[in-house]
Subunit: 391 residues, 2 copies
């Protein structure tokens, strides 16, 4: 559970002229920017975008954009290797772990996980707590025999299991779970410790780097970058020595092999250079401010501000309290008409992309790492006013 | 063969102050930019980068970057669907053809081609004319039984076959070839018409949109975007109705299925939004100027300027004259020492990334669509002076 904590938002001051000319909604954000509650791709830090803009036609005097340079040249190699090293540092990953940056989104990992962790005579066990776990399970079933060790489908994907709820088979090769489900807004809020010595695979696309992950509890963590780390087009894959060992036994085409990517430091083909560069700037922004230890309590505070309003009674939360997501807060107004009115009025006030996922409906407030704390205050205030007027 | 043609370079005029402050090499390019001969990623049009820069923190008043917006929202949907439609227009692809924009580079297509075109009792036939065809063949062999219908390995990958040279098997499912090999600088310079009614698959990563392709001669054309269409991180895949029909029969995971991507207009997962946006700007730039009919003769002229110098005798070209690439011009100086001297002196003069691929050595002059014609004049002049001083 997210506990409300003391701590004021940090407001950044911008030159008045910049605000005067473009701030249509009076939000106090630079460049006429609005509060973007998108569930992904999500908001990026303003200073990361500013640096990218400054260097867009000529990166640091090289005479060309990062988008135009050879991926085999020294300039890009520095950008690339620094991004990988900083990601390793942010995660606290030991040197014998693999840290990859690939293409294809988390969705391609849904296929690559069964391929790279294939074990003769064993089968994967999946934990299904929502939209993303469900999709991954579907892909795995196309490729191999799979056991579903736990599903919260019966209660509308509103919860994650406790450590001892999933029922694993004796022949389990790996356990698969999704640390945070963005559609339902369901979060384990912990590093799960399942009762098995099988490999543990986690899709952490929506909360990697938002809190500390204890890597000793995982063998594979993969994550699309576009929620908590950068723009769409990069997927980070973290591999334990055990996972690397299993993957090394497979014979796979270049772009489907973790081993080949790992050996080439993820320059096994032309990488998505600009997207990796943007992730690199994002990692520098996190590290400069204090890393995951800095951002985690800010994320807790942001979520707590909204859950506090939900607990006042007008809104009804989707997830059970024990698994309320810090990243995606899902709730409903008393009627569907009010849900629509809420989203429309919010949009008109500069609060963008608040409608819930089509499969769940209602409202979804997504606030990833780079979403400013002032926006959590602003949406909480808007929610209270909306409840007062429509209650 | 590329014929020298009359036609002067079109020089664009920029404000003098912009040049004065940053033009270290006196090249006359804006923003201190240099001539970038990278074989990929390659140069982008200056005005495409300028537009991206202008909109980087707030795209057209939406209050957010293209990198931050939901891929399910109207703004991104417009960007995405316009890019697909303009690519279709540039290629002249009929409505019943598939036009996809995927992730994973051309390299992922090396695996997806055999998966999506699997036919019971048949096998693919590959034509191997260099580095890329060779890699693709290697991946295909991991997945299925393959016949090599032609290889120019014996002559150092210096040529492409005539239409009747490849020897196909009676059970051929598809013929695979690479329209332009960037490492050797070997180009078919035509739409090949092979003596088979099998599907025809072409990796056109390095020359799609650089000249007209007669689509009636192909079933699958795929291409990484980073040479002739945009930045790295997008792969365009063009599919004939026949290819779509075969692909529809396969049962494949989401990210490995052409069919699933096609049905979802390439928004089957979170697309690489910013990279697709950049391709979209590139397509608009091509269309505004006259499309492929406009750029093709410019590309011919650029290449001809360099081949003319090679034919003067000091430099030795790698490819046979009949297959000299318009995109990648590969040659050697009389000695390896002179190759190195050439690359170093060129670099000091603002001509970047001219060293040949490590497997071939020598010099490689790559000039894709967005590489300015003035750069072809400049490198030709440099080559003549270098030959005079060192001859």
């Amino acid at each position: 559970m997210v506990a409300a904590r003391a701590g004021a938002s940090v407001a950044i001051r911008y030159p008045l002229t910049m605000l005067e000319t473009q701030d249509k909604h009076g939000l106090g954000l630079p460049y006429g920017r609005i509060y973007n509650f998108s569930a992904g791709p999500g908001a990026l830090p303003v200073e990361v975008l500013e640096e990218a803009k400054d260097d867009l036609l000529n990166y640091k005097g090289t005479g060309m954009s990062v988008m135009e340079m050879s991926h085999r040249g020294k300039t890009y190699d520095d950008i690339h290797m620094t991004a990988l090293a900083n990601l390793r540092k942010l995660l606290g990953a030991p040197d014998d772990w693999g840290v990859l940056m690939l293409q294809g989104g988390a969705s391609l990992q849904n296929a690559m996980v069964p391929m790279n962790l294939k074990m003769e005579g064993k089968r994967p066990n999946y934990i299904d707590t929502g939209h993303w776990g469900h999709l991954s399970l579907g892909d795995a079933k196309l490729m191999t025999d799979v056991h579903v060790a736990y599903s919260s489908e019966g209660t509308g994907f509103d919860r994650a299991p406790s450590d001892d709820e999933p029922q694993f088979t004796p022949d389990v090769s790996y356990v698969y779970y999704t640390s945070n489900e963005t559609v339902g807004g369901v979060d384990y809020l912990r590093d799960a410790t399942f009762n098995t010595d099988a490999l543990v695979v986690c899709d952490a696309s929506s909360n990697i780097l938002s809190r500390k992950f204890d890597l000793t509890k995982y063998d594979v963590i993969f994550a699309g970058a576009q929620k908590t780390q950068g723009p769409a087009g990069v997927t980070t894959v973290i591999l334990s020595p055990r996972a690397l060992e299993v993957a090394a036994q497979q014979k796979l085409p270049l772009m489907l092999s973790w081993t080949k990517a790992h050996k080439a430091h993820s320059i096994h083909n032309t990488p998505p250079c600009f997207a990796i560069y943007m992730c690199g700037l994002y990692y520098q922004w996190l590290l400069k401010n204090g890393g995951v230890d800095w951002i985690a309590p800010i994320n807790e505070r942001k979520a707590a501000k909204v859950y506090e309003v939900i607990d006042e009674g007008f809104y009804k939360g989707h997830a059970v309290k024990e698994n309320r997501s810090r990243m995606n807060i899902t709730f409903k107004c008393p009627t569907e008409e009010l849900d629509k009115k809420f989203a429309d009025e919010a949009e008109a006030n500069g609060f963008s992309t608040l409608a819930g996922h089509r499969s769940v409906g209602g409202i979804r407030v997504s606030m990833y790492n780079a979403f400013p704390e002032s926006g959590a205050d602003a949406i909480a205030q808007f929610m209270r006013e909306f409840a007062r007027k429509n209650g």
